[in-house]
């Protein structure tokens, strides 16, 4: 179990680690379970969308798109069935929050999905969960079975006349299935290759029907918003544009890695690392921080006074992404680290777009030769050139996700690369 430290009002973390929290009985008694659903059934769907907009809930999967606005994109009338899909692929390296929501508070997600389905007019929902989370898939299924048995899923939910069926669909090991159109192809029984957009999923998504894809943490916020109001949820955030709390996933060289639930925009990266996570392991020197999953460009120790939220990180050329924060001390070689990251993108590139498929491989091979003392002076401009030729030139964001980290490591930690090239060896090697 990860460390769980709370600050201010929290929505999730107090239940994490509690094996009883996942039962329907606990959810009904301790968490006002399914009261939001009853409230939502008494509301006009337009009013629900307005509450969602007022909440300033922004997608927790990585893109940070306002959820209320997204829900508003679904056409009212559609000849094809509409779908609500939960993205539980959680494959961005450094991210491990959705796993705890699913294994400790699965009913929050289920209730959020029924409300979402009701709002957009979808009667079918899928939870696309990464294949490795076998235990979490079983726990979710058990919670879904309980919800069916008590009439919170299925036909005529709680006498409302609304029907919603929910199915857990397991992935099978492919990072790209976290990309929403790759996910939809995978759900349809195909290779998880991202689609050309437009059409966007809200027009033609799963099985050709209008579809909303939301992250686990996003959907789990919905019952809170309906119960206590969009304005209240918005006020949980420390900045105007970002409502609610956020689950920050901290890993790497900190004394207390784990999940930290804090107000959106409420702390700086420095506070999170030193005040909450106890500082750097072994009191070593901080070397670098990746602030938003491995796709986020790296930050230097001089940059950690940034407020952890979408705009402040964007302003300094990085991103909050899925709030997966990986902290690196002087103990690990940064060339090796960016090689590992690039090896990952090379492995996970679906291969549709040439710049990404070929570029990731080239960058990986060049980084490997630098790490092994065979690098050339011309390798650094070459890496930047390849990254530049991937960035923005692919169907989905995987290309950018591979290019951004490489250029940021090369630009910000040039001396580390040069030491490898000039010394013809890795200074960290024994």
């Amino acid at each position: 179990m990860s460390n769980a430290v709370a600050s201010g009002e929290t929505l999730y973390i107090q239940h994490f680690g509690n094996e009883e929290a996942r039962s329907l009985e606990y959810y009904l008694k301790q968490m006002k379970g399914y009261t939001a659903l009853k409230k939502a059934f008494g509301m006009k769907v337009e009013a629900i969308v307005e509450e969602m907009k007022a909440s300033n809930l922004r997608g927790r999967g990585g893109a940070g798109f306002p959820t209320g606005t997204k829900w508003g994109f679904i056409p009212k009338e559609s000849p094809k069935p509409k779908y609500l899909v939960c993205n539980a692929d959680e494959s961005e390296p450094g991210t491990f929050k959705d796993r705890d929501i699913m294994r400790y508070t699965p009913h929050l997600l289920i209730e959020g999905m029924v409300i979402g389905g009701y709002t957009i007019g979808a009667h079918i929902g899928y939870i696309y969960i990464r294949g490795e989370y076998t235990r979490e898939a079983k726990l979710l299924q058990a919670a879904i079975d309980e919800a069916y048995a008590k009439g919170y899923l299925g036909k005529n939910i709680q006498g409302s006349g609304f029907t919603f069926d929910l199915t857990v669909h397991r992935g099978a090991g492919a990072y790209i299935c976290g990309e929403e159109t790759g996910l939809l192809n995978s759900l349809e029984g195909k290779r998880g290759e991202p689609r050309v957009k437009p059409p966007f999923p809200a027009q033609a998504g799963a099985f050709g029907g209008p579809t909303i894809v939301n992250n686990v943490e996003t959907l789990a916020a919905v019952p809170h918003i309906i119960n206590r109001g969009g304005k209240w949820f918005s006020s949980l955030g420390a900045v105007e544009k970002s409502g609610g709390t956020r689950l920050f996933c901290v890993s790497g060289h900190v004394k207390k890695p784990g999940l930290y639930e804090l107000p959106s925009g409420g702390v700086t990266l420095r506070q999170l690392i030193y005040d909450y996570c106890g500082g750097i392991l072994g009191d070593k020197k901080l070397k670098a921080v990746i602030p938003g999953g491995s796709s986020a460009p790296v930050l230097t120790p001089d940059e950690i006074d940034v407020v952890l939220d979408i705009e402040p990180l964007m302003k300094i050329g990085s991103m909050l992404g899925s709030a997966g924060i990986m902290v690196v001390s002087e103990d690990y070689c940064l060339v090796r680290l960016i090689w590992r990251i690039t090896k990952f993108y090379d492995h996970e590139s679906c291969g549709q777009c040439t710049p990404c498929r070929e570029g990731c491989r080239w960058m990986k091979d060049i980084l490997w030769r630098i790490e092994n003392g065979n690098g050339r002076e011309t390798d650094l401009p070459l890496l930047l050139d390849i990254a530049n030729n991937i960035n923005g030139k692919t169907l989905c964001a995987l290309g950018d996700a591979a290019a951004g980290p490489v250029s940021s490591f090369v630009r910000k930690f040039k001396a580390d690369f040069e030491a490898h090239i000039r010394g013809k060896r890795c200074p960290h090697a024994p």
Binding site: M1, S2, N3, P81, E90, S91, E92, P93, G94, T95, F96, D98, R99, R130, G131, E132, Y133, T134, R135, D165, T167, H169, R170, G171, A172, G173, A174, Y175, S186, L187, E188, G189, K190, R191, G192, F207, C249, V250, S251, G252, H253, P257, G258, L259, I290, S294, G324, M326, V328, Y332, R336, L337, R340, I341, F344, H347, E348, C350
Partner: protein
């Protein structure tokens, strides 16, 4: 021809069918269920899945080969998949891999001669706060170090 897949497989699929608007959508669940029976996906099983869904066997292979969790070659009884992505590497996963290679006498991607162990490197498992992590078949093991790894391997060798 005798069927390679059990009644349990077909019952499970029949239960799932009404959950999807197309039959092809059952492909991933079917491959998971089939692999549960054989611990990998032999060619005749892929063919039977194709027949059940009503698609060309090549289409099944096209999809199955896209996903790393489907084993298209036999794997050992204990399939070790050790994460070496960023968070786990920072916490010593590379040393754990080396230790396993030495102890089992195989390299990454290989299976021991007695077919007891297969060793693979895995990308991020979503257990970064409890790194290093690995999967042993379907099961997560977290907060690993060489000592804990030894305990696990010793238990499995017995």
């Amino acid at each position: 021809m005798a069927k390679a897949l059990s009644k349990k497989f077909y019952d499970e699929m029949t239960k799932l069918e009404p959950r999807y608007p197309t039959k092809v959508a059952l492909l991933l669940p079917a491959l998971h269920a089939a692999q549960d029976e054989y611990h990998w996906l032999p060619p005749e099983v892929l063919d039977e899945v194709a027949q059940y869904i009503g698609i060309h066997p090549a289409q099944v292979r096209e999809v199955a080969s896209f996903y790393t969790m489907y084993d298209l070659k036999p794997v050992g009884k204990n399939h070790l998949k050790i994460c070496t992505n960023v968070a786990c590497a920072l916490r010593g996963a590379e040393g754990i891999v080396k230790h396993c290679e030495k102890k089992l006498g195989i390299k990454l991607g290989e299976t021991t001669r007695d077919r007891k162990f297969t060793l693979h490197e895995e990308e991020c498992l979503g257990a970064c706060g409890t790194a290093p992590a690995m999967m042993l078949n379907d099961e997560y093991h977290e907060n690993l170090d060489v000592r804990r790894m030894d305990e696990i391997l010793d238990r499995l060798t017995k």
